[in-house]
């Protein structure tokens, strides 16, 4: 992963930038970096995710953004608390190689390596052709998702502070 784990919140984009809508995870990370500079740690994972759990600290709030195929309209956003529920291995979240996202999270759970909070934001995708462009509906979701990430991380921090008190 091409990011440094230093901030208390980490945003990870999963996907292949050259495979159409699969690029939406990395594109969202690009927007996060542009809008918030170093406020959040960020990273992009393009291939195998087996060692994903080495990317975070256990006291971090982590948000993972990935493409999804579920039959919903293109650009639809779906959110999932991966600490509360198990992600089904065949959940429709796409991986290009090796160990996929659902498996990587289950691996982290088994190894007791989950972070303080772990939210999956999945964006419905339609095209995955080599060197395809993002479809407009999917590209249009990026700003909405970044708004949501900011709000989500604020909520998680507030919740953590409340619990600490």
């Amino acid at each position: 992963m091409d990011g440094q784990v230093t901030a208390q919140a980490l945003v990870i984009g999963v996907g292949n930038r050259d495979r159409g809508d699969d690029a939406i995870g990395p594109v969202v990370v690009d927007v996060v970096r542009e809008r918030f500079d170093d406020r959040y740690a960020t990273g992009v994972v393009e291939g195998d995710l087996s060692d994903l759990s080495l990317s975070w600290h256990q006291d971090q709030d982590v948000v993972i953004v990935d493409a999804m195929v579920s039959g919903r309209p293109a650009g639809d956003v779906w959110e999932f608390d991966a600490l509360e529920e198990k992600l089904r291995i065949d959940s429709g979240l796409l991986s290009s190689h090796g160990v996929g996202l659902a498996e990587a999270i289950e691996l982290a759970r088994i190894l007791d390596r989950l972070p303080r909070s772990l939210t999956i934001i999945a964006i419905e995708a339609t095209t995955f052709g080599q060197f395809d462009e993002l479809t407009p509906e999917v590209a249009g979701a990026a700003d909405r998702v970044v708004d949501r990430i900011e709000k989500l991380i604020d909520e998680k921090r507030t919740h953590a502070r409340t619990r600490a008190v």
Binding site: M1, D2, N16, D18, V44, V45, E46, G47, D48, S50, D51, S53, L54, I89, D90, L94, S95, S96, H97, G98, V99, G100, E103, E106, L107, I110, L111, Q130, F131
Partner: protein, 431 residues
């Protein structure tokens, strides 16, 4: 199912890179049909390269595979540099070897821990192994991460490196960046020894084949980027001669071409081939350790490839340490590669076997023709031969066991069918 009549069909192979299936048919006690079916659509990269600038293949071909992009980059740059009459040496050559070490560590460790070990231990997946062997799986993740770190330092990111160019690198790493790899590599070495001992303790199905092992051989180094193409049965050619000695055939059940050597037939590329052809070039430490864990200088049992992958990982770690310790940043991170009309060939050693590229370019550097022969295409007929032999010798096994071992036989080769998802849906027809 009886031992006389078997019809095994696995429509989607799990724990391989890409989309493939397996079909095995036995009638009256004889194997009548064996097919490793590759049905993933071809992506026409060679056609895509035609008309592009000669500087582009290093980035374009890297996108062929998310597991071995470095192999594609290295075969591409070496072939084009050869077309342009440029040879890269010194520190840049060392950095290219280090980059390849990183990819071998990433790929081999992923395959050993998550794709192949489950077959030997009776688990559905690497994730399932973690529940019973958490420390080992944590070690495997850390070891793989060391490979990621190497590719990240040299390539700018751990997957699909962006720092590679004709003649070298856009930017050479600093001494501090290289030094940062040292401690993780030392830890990785200990972990790797532990991993090798673990895999050497597995039960290996018995299968012996009289392979023609084909790999690179360099005069003084276990090969990554350079060397002649040799075999244990007398082949000894330059990369420029490879297409004169090989055939690519279309078969109805595969969207990947099948490779053969003219007048010689199917052949085997990958860790077992490199091991057999280059054992004498390994350090005495690794040779002795191999003997200790029961690996011979020539291994004809493909199921033992999992241990050989571990030993090659150990070599990659030692080689990385050597390069890191001796590193002095080059004055310039690349040599100039001016375009000139010509043809260039290169074979390098991808983790899963020899990867051949050929490019023809004009005097302005426009690519006129490109040819890529990946290792899995070369191994397909060999995999089918292994399946046939294994089924013939193991018809006494029950259906489930036979099917599992057949799938395991395919995974012995860590086939990289393409960049794709992998998952399992299984149907079995009984005659």
């Amino acid at each position: 199912m009886t031992s006389e009549n078997v019809d095994l069909h696995v429509p989607i192979l799990a724990r391989v890179e890409g989309e493939g299936a397996m079909h095995v048919q036995v009638s009256n006690g004889e194997v009548t049909d064996i097919r490793l079916e590759i049905y993933e659509p071809p992506r026409f990269f060679e056609a895509l390269l035609r008309g592009r600038d000669y500087t582009e293949p290093a980035d374009i071909t890297a996108r062929i595979c998310g597991i071995c992009p470095v192999a594609y980059q290295m075969s591409a740059v070496h072939a084009i540099e050869r077309a342009c009459g440029v040879a890269v040496g010194g520190e840049i050559r060392e950095l290219r070897r280090l980059l390849y070490c990183g990819e071998w560590i990433q790929s081999h460790v992923l395959h050993i821990g998550f794709l192949h070990a489950p077959d030997f231990l009776g688990y559905e997946s690497g994730i399932a192994i973690a529940a019973d062997h958490p420390k080992m799986v944590e070690s495997i993740l850390t070891l793989k991460r060391t490979g990621n770190d190497i590719v990240d330092v040299l390539g700018g990111r751990p997957i699909h490196p962006v720092n590679i160019k004709l003649g070298g690198f856009y930017k050479a790493p600093s001494r501090a960046e290289m030094r940062s790899l040292r401690e993780p590599l030392l830890q990785a070495r200990e972990t790797c020894v532990e991993l090798i001992r673990w895999t050497a303790g597995f039960d290996f199905p018995d299968l012996q084949q009289d392979y023609e092992f084909v790999s690179l051989r360099h005069e003084s180094e276990y090969p990554f980027n350079e060397g002649r193409i040799v075999s244990n049965k007398g082949l000894d050619i330059d990369a420029s001669e490879f297409e004169q000695h090989s055939l690519e055939e279309h078969v109805a059940h595969s969207t990947a071409l099948h490779s053969r050597l003219k007048d010689r037939g199917w052949y085997h590329v990958g860790p077992l081939a490199r091991w057999a052809n280059n054992f004498d070039l390994l350090s005495s430490d690794i040779q002795e350790f191999a003997a200790e864990v029961g690996i011979a200088p020539v291994e004809n049992n493909p199921f033992k490839s999992i241990v050989v992958r571990g030993l090659e990982t150990l070599h990659a770690i030692d080689e990385s340490l050597r390069i890191v310790d001796g590193y002095a940043p080059p004055a310039k991170s690349f040599v100039d590669v001016p375009a000139r009309a010509g043809v260039g060939w290169s074979a390098t050693e991808a983790p899963r076997g020899m990867l051949y590229h050929r490019y023809e370019i004009d005097d302005e550097g426009i690519i006129l023709a490109a040819q890529i022969i990946p290792p899995t295409a070369q191994n397909q007929p060999t995999i089918e031969s292994d399946l046939r032999r294994f089924v013939e010798e193991n018809l006494h096994l029950d259906h489930e066991e036979l099917q599992l071992r057949c799938e395991q036989s395919i995974r012995n080769y860590d086939p990289c069918i393409s960049c794709s998802t992998h998952f399992l849906t299984l149907t079995i027809d009984k005659s």
